[in-house]
Each structure stands twice: as structure tokens, then as C-alpha cells.
Subunit: 389 residues, 2 copies
């Protein structure tokens, strides 16, 4: 448990929030996963910003993407070089205004950022789970979040918000616990991975699993599969960008060189960028967690799991007000996929706003500063908040 | 040297052609490469179909792509399961009509399909080149092809044709040896790789180079870097398809299973397909050749190398009649790149036809049956042939 400080735009400390851990499902009352396997105890790392109202009606749950964590906003210490992963969006006066709302962000189970996951000690063996960690689904992640919400005394969530794999959790919340979700903002996401998205994840997993250091997932007392994970991350990185953004960001510019090396050094800036991203990722993320979370994303299929093959049926019980956002250059979850979910929501007479934002930065666009997104999210949350009061 | 048999559409043997090897640049007269390094002797594997006219005016040079070879059409033996890689296009009465034209296809240098490349014995050491193989460029590949053409007594090539990396060779021919090229058909190609294309190649190379079995390129007396090469190929395979084609071909269909395995087996058909493609590729291709040829493709930059940064200038000396073809769903070399080269050609008052073919199969489309492409190529070659006569 560690305190951390949030800051406003000027770097002024605006309050103290706590990074906390919540543990439930202690044996013999383990959590039963979608696969039928059991997991327990389940620990969730989470952080909150803002104050919960007396009626607990101002809670916003932010769901992070693949490699994210609970540290959504603010700085842990005044000399931290980087704030939380969505600090541009969540904070005092920001798109998700922590002066008004109580923001909760928890690390998904299966990850390696404080919640239970493959690197966690398996109480049954006294060693890290590794290959013994059971497959968790997006639904399981949401079930764990629900336990946290109940623990926090939140019975209705004003809004569940998230992009990418976080957006899948948002959608899962709306169909699995419709009575708990007042509003939902799924960003740059999909109701099911396309073959293309599965393909990229599979190749990334193959890169990890073919690294001899992976050792079938039981590498925690030895060398980590760093090169495999680095390659996996590089593949991911390409899919988060776009042809246009890479052209603008790198083009064919060379890395500190006037000509080609005529060997396999990183001649092009884009090569150097990818290598750097891969190396950085290895320092902060676990290879098994990468495998498990990408698998959960590939398995996610709202229409299969909740609609017997029909997306319209999948949203039949949903009650949330929706703001669906896609980005023009996102080729991982292209707009046609958002449009399909919007259509299904509308067929169920749900309150849906949809916007495709023109952005050149590909899938990553939802994480980048975007005035239009800020305004839209703020406006939507204001309306929902007003209509709830 | 081996004979092989060509077949017509009905499988009837229509003639005998030879797979040959041509060796030049014997030391001390080595080939001087673009990098300044020397390579010699240089052996090229090549195959021909059809008959060369007395005036040697009916020669067509087909340039293969990354993993191709000289076996462009026909079967080696009557019981071969597969014909040459472009048998649908080249043969008697086909788009490239071997009843009329003398078709030459040679394996590019740097490859592993008979021409000199990293697995070739280095006469200086008595061992395979491996890490000693010098970097070769698209220009070097074309220079070797030119030596072969001269050897065959061909001073003017009726048409140089190729897709993808083969298309780069076509373009290189037109600007480097303009007096030799009557007509040119660059298909699904580009005058320079985008950052996105370089990025995919770089990640594929990293997959190979991080395989411990790669051993810095000197693995020929030990275990080959099979897993790294398989991952590299899988990455490539994704880029050759498209979102739409993968949706049609695989969707989210499961592989012989009614439900998920909840482990990391190949649950989805697309996963199984990619693993199979990776495994198959490892059997027939060399990891170092993959590195060298992708690097050559990344280095290729017509405007930098021939136009001082101007694509218009790069085509200033070109004389060929062009048929430029792109495919709607090719996101590796999107149509805008073909349009840019067409524009530059037109500014030089060159005779240019351009067609963007509607095709859902992505970059691979140029290799697949396409009636429109057949007709267009045949018509273009007919016209060029007529105008030459």
C-alpha cells in the first residue's frame, strides 16, 4: 500500500490518493472462472482519484488496455517523470473530472501490475503460478472488478470507460451487469477480434513461446524470455500506429547516419524506435501476462457469449447510455466494427451516441491528446450525471 | 542443371526447358556491389520458357518476389504436385504467352534458391558465407540479371515484369538500364518502402536475429534458426493478406473444436494457418536470405538513389512503356504509392498505363488468378510487341 500525490495541470499537488490492494475469493471460496477453473485468493491492485459521494453515485470505473495498470492519473511522487497512463484525460477539470467524479482504476487479473497474474505466488505450490495460472477471460476480469466495486460500496457505476482491451471490459460490464452500469464509453474497441487482430496476437505469442527462455511459462527463477517479449511488443507497436502516423513520425529518416550501414544495425529511425520500445517493455511487463491478456482479448466475442451468435441479442439486456468512439486511422479495430455495435445497440432502442474521430495516429489515438475527445467525453458525462441526479 | 517439362492448361507436356546456372565475376574480376564490397564468383540460377527469336526481341524477364525462385512456370516432372510460382500467368496462351515470348526468370542474388547467397560456399573460406555474405541491393540483383541477359544474347528486353520486391527490380531496370527495357510492368510495388513496411521487415528480422540458433548468421553446420524464421514468415504472411481477406478466409472459425481450449493451442483457424505457413517456410527458405532480401527491399529508394530526392528526376532517363498495377486491398504497398510513381512517369512524358484492380486478397492479389490482370497484361504486351515489330 503506497500513498501517491495527484497534480493539476500546473504540477500543483491537489490531493493524496492511495494505491490499494483488495483480496477476495480466499480458498475454499475461490473465484470460478469462465473456463471452469478456480482461482483464489484473488488480489486486485487499484487506485482512486476524487471523492466518492455519500450515495456512491459519482463513481467512474476506468478499464485499462493490454499493458496498462491501475495508475491512471497523477504522480506517485513529486519527482516522478511520468504521470498515470491517462493523466491527460483524468484529473481535476479534465475530460473525466476528478473534482466531480470518483475515479477507480484497477489492474486486470492476469496482468503483472499488482493484481493476481502468472508472476504471482501460487499458494498451492509456494512458487509463481507461471504455466499453472488459469486462463482468464474479459468476463473474469470484469467479475473481479465487480467484486472490487462491491467492496467499495458502489452499486451503480456512473460510467465505465475504456479503450481497446479496456473497451472490451466496458462492453462486457454492460451486458453482464446491466443493472450496475448507468453509462459506458467504449473507445477504439470491438465486440470481437477480427482474424487480422487474432493473427497479430498469435504471431506475438509465437515470438514469446519460441524464445527458449520462456521455458513453457516457468521462467521466474531463471532468465526471462526478454527477446521474445521484445519482438511481441514490436509487433503490437506497429498495430497501434498507422501507415500515415509512421510516415509522419519516421518516414525513411536515418538514425544518426548519413548513409546505410549495409549491415543489420538500426539504420532507420523506425527500426531504432521499435527496438527501443521492445527493450523498454521488457523492463516493465511480464511475458506470460502478455500471453494471457492477448488470449483473453482474442477469446472475447460478445455475440457468441451473450447473443447466441447475434450482436443485437447480445445487447438485449443492456441498459447503459453509450458513447461509442472510433478513430479513422485505427486499423486494428476499424470504424466498421464500432458501427456494427452501434447498430446493434440502436436496434435495442438504447441511448447511443457515436463518433468517429478523424485522427492519424492509429489505434493509439485514444491515448493521445485530442480536444474533440475531451469535449465529447466531458459533455457526455455531464449529461449522464445531470440525468441521473 | 536439370531438365523440366512445361504443361499446358490440360496438363499436356508442351516442351522441355532447362534449369541452368550462369556463373560470372570470377575472381579477380568480382562484381562490385553498391556497398563497395566485392562478390565473386556470382552464380545465377535461371529458367526459360518459350523460344528466343532470331533477333532476340521477344524476351521477357520475370522478376520474383522475396521468397520466390527461378521456377516461374511449368512442372519439373509430370508427377510434381505444384507448378512454378506464376504458372497461372506464364505459359502457352496465358497472360505472358510462352508461345510468343521467351520468358526468363532468374533467382535473385542473396537468395537461397540456386543463386549465390548466404548459404553458398564462400571460396575464400571453404565454408558457407553466412555472416560474411555482403549486403546486396535491388540494384545489385538487377546488375546480376543484366549479366545473365548479356550472356543469353539479349540486348533489349521486350518487357521486365514483377510484383512486390520483383516490382522494385522492374523499376530499377528502367532507371538503371533504360536503353535495354522496351516495356515494364511493376505490380503491387513501390519506389520506396514506407516506414510501416520497414517496420514489419525489421520486426521479422528481429525475430530471426533473436533466435539463439541464428548464431550471428553462422548456423550452417548446426541447428537452423527455425523458430525465428517461422515467426518472421508469419509476420510477412499477415502483411500479404488483408482485413477483408482474412475475415473471408478464416473469420473467427475454430480449428476442429467446438469450444476454446483455454490454453495456447491453435484454437482459431487463422492461428493454425499461420503456424503451418511458418513451419512450411522453414523447410524451403534460408533465414539469412530472408534478412538480406528484406534489407535490400528496405534500402530500395528510387528517388534517393536516382533522383536526388525527386521521383520525377529518378525517371528522367527512363524510356520504357509502363503498365503500373496496384490492388485495392494491398496495404503493404497501397495504391497511393503506385499513383505517385505514375505521376512521376507522366511528368517525364512516358507512355504509362495505370490500373488499380479491385481485389480483396491484399498484397498477395498479384499472385492469384485474376482475369482482369490476365487480359490487361496480355493486351499491354500485345501492343508493345506490335509497336516494336
Amino acid at each position: 500500500m503506497s500513498d501517491y500525490i495527484t497534480h493539476d495541470k500546473n504540477g500543483v499537488s491537489v490531493g493524496r490518493v492511495q494505491k490499494k490492494y483488495f483480496t477476495f475469493a480466499e480458498p475454499p471460496d475461490e473465484m470460478v472462472l469462465e473456463s471452469g477453473a478456480k482461482l483464489g485468493p484473488v488480489t486486485i491492485a487499484y487506485e482512486t482519484c476524487g471523492e466518492l459521494n455519500r450515495d456512491a453515485g459519482n463513481a467512474i470505473l476506468v478499464c485499462h488496455a493490454l499493458s496498462g495498470d491501475s495508475h491512471v492519473a497523477g504522480y506517485y511522487a513529486t519527482d516522478d517523470s511520468k504521470p498515470g497512463w491517462w493523466d491527460i484525460m483524468a484529473g481535476p477539470g479534465k475530460g473525466i473530472d476528478t473534482d466531480k467524479y470518483f475515479v477507480v482504476c484497477s489492474n486486470i487479473i492476469g496482468s503483472c501490475m499488482g493484481s493476481v497474474g502468472p508472476p504471482t505466488m501460487n499458494p498451492g505450490t509456494g512458487k509463481p503460478y507461471g504455466s499453472d495460472f488459469p486462463m482468464v477471460t474479459i468476463g473474469d476480469m470484469v467479475d473481479a472488478q465487480k467484486a472490487l466495486m462491491e467492496h467499495l460500496g458502489i452499486r451503480k457505476i456512473l460510467a465505465v470507460i475504456g479503450g481497446s482491451v479496456g473497451g472490451m471490459q466496458v462492453l462486457q460490464w454492460c451486458v453482464r451487469y446491466p443493472e450496475m452500469v448507468v453509462a459506458a464509453i467504449p473507445l477504439a474497441t470491438t465486440t470481437k477480434h477480427s482474424a487480422l487482430a487474432i493473427a497479430f496476437n498469435e504471431v506475438a505469442r509465437q515470438a514469446i513461446m519460441s524464445d527458449p527462455d520462456w521455458s513453457n511459462g516457468d521462467y521466474y527463477d531463471g532468465t526471462k524470455p526478454a527477446t521474445g517479449l521484445a519482438v511481441a511488443r514490436m509487433i503490437g507497436n506497429i498495430t497501434y500506429l498507422s501507415d500515415e502516423s509512421m510516415r509522419l513520425k519516421f518516414g525513411r529518416r536515418l538514425q544518426n547516419k548519413s548513409d546505410f550501414s549495409y549491415n543489420f544495425d538500426a539504420d532507420f529511425q523506425v527500426e531504432s524506435y521499435l527496438r527501443h520500445q521492445g527493450a523498454k517493455f521488457v523492463e516493465r511487463f511480464d511475458a506470460n501476462s502478455f500471453l494471457f491478456i492477448t488470449r483473453a482479448a482474442d477469446y472475447f466475442d460478445l455475440e457468441k457469449q451473450h447473443g447466441e451468435g447475434s450482436l443485437v441479442k447480445a445487447f438485449a439486456n443492456a441498459r447503459a447510455k453509450f458513447l461509442v468512439v472510433s478513430f479513422t486511422s485505427d486499423w486494428l479495430y476499424p470504424t466498421y466494427q464500432s458501427k456494427a455495435m452501434v447498430k446493434a445497440m440502436k436496434k435495442n432502442d438504447l441511448d447511443v451516441s457515436f463518433c468517429e474521430i478523424k485522427a492519424q495516429w492509429g489505434h493509439d489515438a485514444f491515448l493521445l491528446p485530442n480536444e474533440r475527445l475531451d469535449i465529447m467525453m466531458k459533455g457526455f458525462l455531464n449529461r449522464v450525471w445531470r440525468e441521473t441526479a
